[in-house]
């Protein structure tokens, strides 16, 4: 019997739950950030800043090896030391920087790397959307740096700070200082680790030869596996992997784009099909 497909009419509550689920799943990779703890009932501006800086430390520690590996890989793959530092300083987005390093090794043109960066970093749009209610009243001089410094790690700690608002001591009007403290700590650490990696890369110039580039593959595996908690996610990843394999000989890594698009389509489509069945038969996803 053919079941009528229902167009997924997601409501916001459900969507929020879904995406917290995926974000929390991501964060379980690293030590859970502690709940903000303030000594006095009404935290001051500098207390907010330093508490933010302190709360993100577990995640900062987790980012240390990536910064170092990035610095080592990028310079080994042919990016100049200056450009490697500049990338960390001006782009400040770890996974896309790793991918750029990989594409540079494959002699990909800059425009395609930029396009891939756009796709990879689109997830930040999700974070920005959930932060908008808390930052929309801030002036531009705050919005610009806070947006620039938005990372997976900063989002994970900052959103907890913003959402704690029931206790009296959590009614702070300086939460953007907490955000700045956390995000800036992450930024300075990333820059420092990139510099360390570049130095290391100059000491071991044939890092790619003996397989250090495989560090990127295992890193990505460790990032992907926690996402695979439901059938649509698994289907999308399998489709993307297969398409990428079949299109690997396409010029300019165009296969990567195709694989990403088809993978996303497969995930969205199977989500709808499974939800349709789920609504009718009561099966779990």
């Amino acid at each position: 019997m053919l079941m009528p497909l229902r167009i997924a009419a997601l409501n916001w509550g459900r969507l929020t739950r879904i995406w917290y689920h995926s974000i929390l799943g991501r964060m379980s990779l690293s030590p859970t950030p502690p709940l903000p703890h303030f000594p006095t009932p009404s935290p001051s501006l500098s207390q907010e800043f330093w508490t933010g800086a302190r709360d993100i430390i577990p995640l900062v520690v987790g980012a240390v090896p990536f910064g170092i590996i990035f610095g080592t890989l990028a310079t080994n793959n042919g990016l100049s030391s200056l450009a490697t530092v500049a990338m960390s300083a001006f782009v400040f987005a770890g996974s896309s920087q790793f991918i750029a390093a990989g594409m540079i090794a494959a002699k990909t043109g800059w425009l395609l790397i930029v396009l891939t960066t756009f796709v990879v970093n689109l997830r930040h749009l999700l974070y920005a959307v959930s932060l908008v209610p808390y930052v929309k009243t801030l002036p531009q001089r705050w919005k610009i740096p806070l947006a620039f410094l938005l990372t997976d790690e900063a989002f994970a700690v900052v959103i907890r700070r913003y959402e704690l608002k029931n206790e009296p001591k959590e009614k702070s009007s300086f939460k953007h200082w907490y955000y700045l403290g956390a995000a800036l700590t992450m930024y300075l650490n990333w820059l420092l680790c990139t510099l360390l990696g570049i130095t290391l890369g100059q000491m071991i110039p044939d890092a790619t030869e003996w397989g250090l580039d495989f560090a990127m593959s295992v890193t990505f595996i460790g990032m992907v596996v926690p996402y695979l908690k439901n059938k649509p996610m698994v289907i999308s990843v399998v489709v993307a992997g297969l398409v990428a394999l079949l299109t690997a000989s396409f010029p300019n890594k165009l296969g990567l784009m195709l694989a990403a698009l088809l993978g996303i389509a497969a995930g969205v489509l199977s989500e709808r099909v499974l939800k349709g069945n789920n609504n009718l038969t009561g099966d779990n996803l």
């Binding site: 690997a248 000989s249 990403a260």
Partner: protein, 106 residues
């Protein structure tokens, strides 16, 4: 490779993504369907990069015990699935890869 254009381009697209919603405050609303499709972006892009890296060697499919990357990747998947610990996944994956590679050379 034009490094200036590369970094400028990467900077602009990344900042645009992070800033557009802040800048527009509540004037732009994204459709829930679009947002739910976005959730697939990170795992899909990452696996599209990793799968060919692991399974292809000089453009040819290489599936078997002689492919140390594949063995390391399988170890990484298992560790990641069991522990959900990124750092441990990297350490074990790399150790298995290097260990296996030296076994093959022997």
């Amino acid at each position: 490779m034009n490094e200036v254009l590369l970094i400028l381009g990467m900077m602009l697209v990344t900042f645009f993504i992070r800033y557009v919603m802040f800048g527009a405050s509540s004037r732009i609303t994204l459709s829930p369907d679009f947002l739910s499709a976005l959730r697939y972006v990170p795992p899909v892009v990452l696996s599209a990069i990793v799968v060919p890296e692991v399974l292809l060697s000089d453009g040819a499919l290489s599936v078997g015990v002689m492919n140390a990357r594949l063995v390391g990747a399988i170890a990484a998947i298992v560790i990641s699935y069991v522990t959900r610990n990124l750092l441990l996944t990297i350490i074990v994956g790399m150790a298995v890869f290097f260990g296996w590679q030296s076994l093959i050379v022997l």
